[in-house]
Amino acid sequence: MRSLRRTFISGICLAAFGAVGCKKSATSTSAGGSTAADRATEIIIGHYASMTGSTAHFGQDTDRGIRLALVEANAKGGVLGKKLRLVTLDDRGDSAEAANAVNRLIDVEKVSAVLGEVASSLSLAGGRVAQRRKIPMISPTSTNPKVTEVGDYVFRVCFIDPFQGKVMATFAHDYLKLTKIAILRDVKNDYSIGLADAFKASFLQMSGNVVAEQAYSQNDTDFSAQVTAIRGTGAQAIFVPGYYSEVGSIARTAARLGLKIPLLGGDGWDSPDLFTIGGDAINGSYFSDHFAPDVATDKAKRFVASFTTEYGQAPTGLGALGYEAAEVLVDAIARAGKVEPTAIRDAIAHTKDFEGVTGKITMDAHRNPLKSAVVLKIEGGKAKFETSIAP
């Protein structure tokens, strides 16, 4: 926790002074680690994440999940007789910084593998670097299909947006019995654009109507024009595949303009800040996610318990997938038998029936796992399991 705070504070300092490169903000899970690491006794794993900024919660929760997995692996004696050490760099939610961070992890911190990012735009930026340098990377939660298309060194442990879009379209059409839906997408965000397209294609196929398509840009604060335009179309729900800060504001704007229809969204909603910003207005809305903490397998229950003990709050889906990505990586390093990027890459590619906290993971030929999704309903400032939809 102390080291996490240190990362966070140095991240803020970085942001504050607008440093171009990533200054050293690395911390270690093992006490008193040095950058001039003794590679004979430890394996260094890099994580680049938005520890600050409007998606700070994504980075922080993922980092906690990863840290927990590595602490647990180290408690069992580490891998191949070596301890695991995590180096986290803050990219401030900026794609140029994400590429810088991965370069720095590889050049300065000499990591053997990279974990990150949550946001697809950032995973694309970081993934291109990892691919060029031939260092394996696992994105815990980037759902845009393009992310793993970057190359054979980039993997993920979550489902992809064509599936997630279909899940919400199925849910809206078959479960909520809706036929008229408006779409409000973040046009500066690869994830949001991809998910909106996937949703629209599936919903139209089910002979539903998309009655309005509106746009906003990340970090916008005024949504009244879009909501007003949607209000006149008779939409029964709005699909907002964005991130939690803006979604919270959009929900409040809709309530203010007297629009009493549910919002639907994806895993980008998954943060307690959604409830802080959205308040009562976000109640009654639904989003698809990787993981429902209230309905889980034994392994997931153990994870939720130890996460909650360690950090004093329950994990979101992001924490769970961070944990899962780290576990898949540790398992692959063990199977590779040596700490060498190409061997680790091959081992990750051969991951089969790995029992993760959010489900079984088998990497397909495109380095994507096949997994089912859950739909959560927001009630009283909490996300609760509503239904599960299989591929």
Partner: protein, 305 residues
């Protein structure tokens, strides 16, 4: 029709906030011929002062119990933020602009950009870079007229903005300091020769402009739900464009410009696409500079050689 009216109301309320900020740009420019780029950050600091002073007055307890925050406490929040921002404005003038006042015009402009960047980053350091939900200083009440919804927040924005603008008008036209400001804007050297304490008048100008920006900051927070340390960048630029559109240096011009920019932005977002909402402001800037560089209500001044 309902939709158009709704968009116009939304646009006017956003425009009133721009107008409040634009007044600060235009007043400073009128007197010093300086574009005070740090003004957007004064607006941001005003919003955060409101955020923290509402917190200090125990707003979370009211929110938790779904009780209304008392109006007199809301006024205290407003006055605190305005006073803090006025102080900040005076301080910026004293530390950053006064030492370079007689330097070539480019020097203070670059200094202003420096102050702006400094305050943005200080804001991220002090207030955290993450967006914060603005406290419910006003609890929301909605009124509906033929399908058009007006909240008490929008009404408050109009009323507060209108009162402050009228107050400013009276201040500039009727008080001694106001008359001195107009004298300075006409000819600063002549004003000095007439025995006006120009430093003092410039200080008051910064104080008044900054206080108005702080009021704008609080109204912005109420209207837009979240605030962040970089909120002053784009909003400040748009308010600056509003000042140029109305005719920089002209107080009624700033008000007209602010309202027009707010309307243009909202109608573009509503009827064209929200992707162009920021672009439209700068298209307007380019057009006005090409077609009527002195602005809608500006006066052409003869440059003395």
């Amino acid at each position: 029709m309902t939709q158009l009216l709704q968009q116009i109301i939304n646009g006017l309320s956003l425009g009133s906030i721009y107008a409040l900020i634009a007044l600060g740009y235009t007043m400073v420019y009128g007197i010093l011929k300086l574009i005070n780029f740090a003004h957007g950050e004064v607006f941001m600091v005003g919003a955060y002062t409101g955020y923290y002073s509402a917190g200090a007055l125990g707003i979370s307890a009211y929110e938790a119990q779904h009780r209304d925050f008392p109006v007199y406490l809301g006024l205290i929040v407003l006055v605190t933020a305005m006073a803090t921002a006025a102080l900040l404005g005076v301080l910026i003038e004293l530390l950053a602009y006064r030492p370079v006042r007689n330097a070539p015009r480019l020097t203070p402009l670059i200094t202003a950009i420096g102050v702006s960047l400094f305050l943005q980053n200080a804001g991220m350091l002090l207030f955290s870079p993450n967006p914060q939900r603005y406290p419910a200083i006003l609890s929301e009440v909605r009124f509906e007229f033929f399908g058009v919804i007006v909240t008490n927040i929008k009404l408050t924005i109009f009323v507060v903005a209108l009162c402050l603008m009228l107050g400013l008008h009276l201040f500039v036209q009727k008080t001694w300091t106001g008359r001195a400001m107009r004298a300075l804007s006409f000819n600063i050297d002549a004003a000095k020769l007439m025995g006006i304490d120009t430093d003092n008048v410039i200080r008051s100008t910064f104080a008044v402009g900054s206080a108005l920006a702080a009021a704008g900051g609080i109204l912005f927070g109420l209207d837009q739900i979240t605030i962040n340390p970089l909120m002053g960048v784009l909003t400040g630029l748009k308010a600056f464009v509003a000042a140029v559109l109305g005719g920089i240096g002209s107080i009624p011009g700033a008000v007209v410009g602010g309202l027009l920019i707010g309307l243009a932005e909202q109608l573009t977002a509503g009827y064209l696409s929200a992707e162009y909402r920021d672009a439209i402001t700068f298209v307007i800037l380019i057009l006005i500079l090409l077609l009527k560089p002195e602005g809608l209500l500006g006066v052409v001044r003869v440059e003395k050689v």
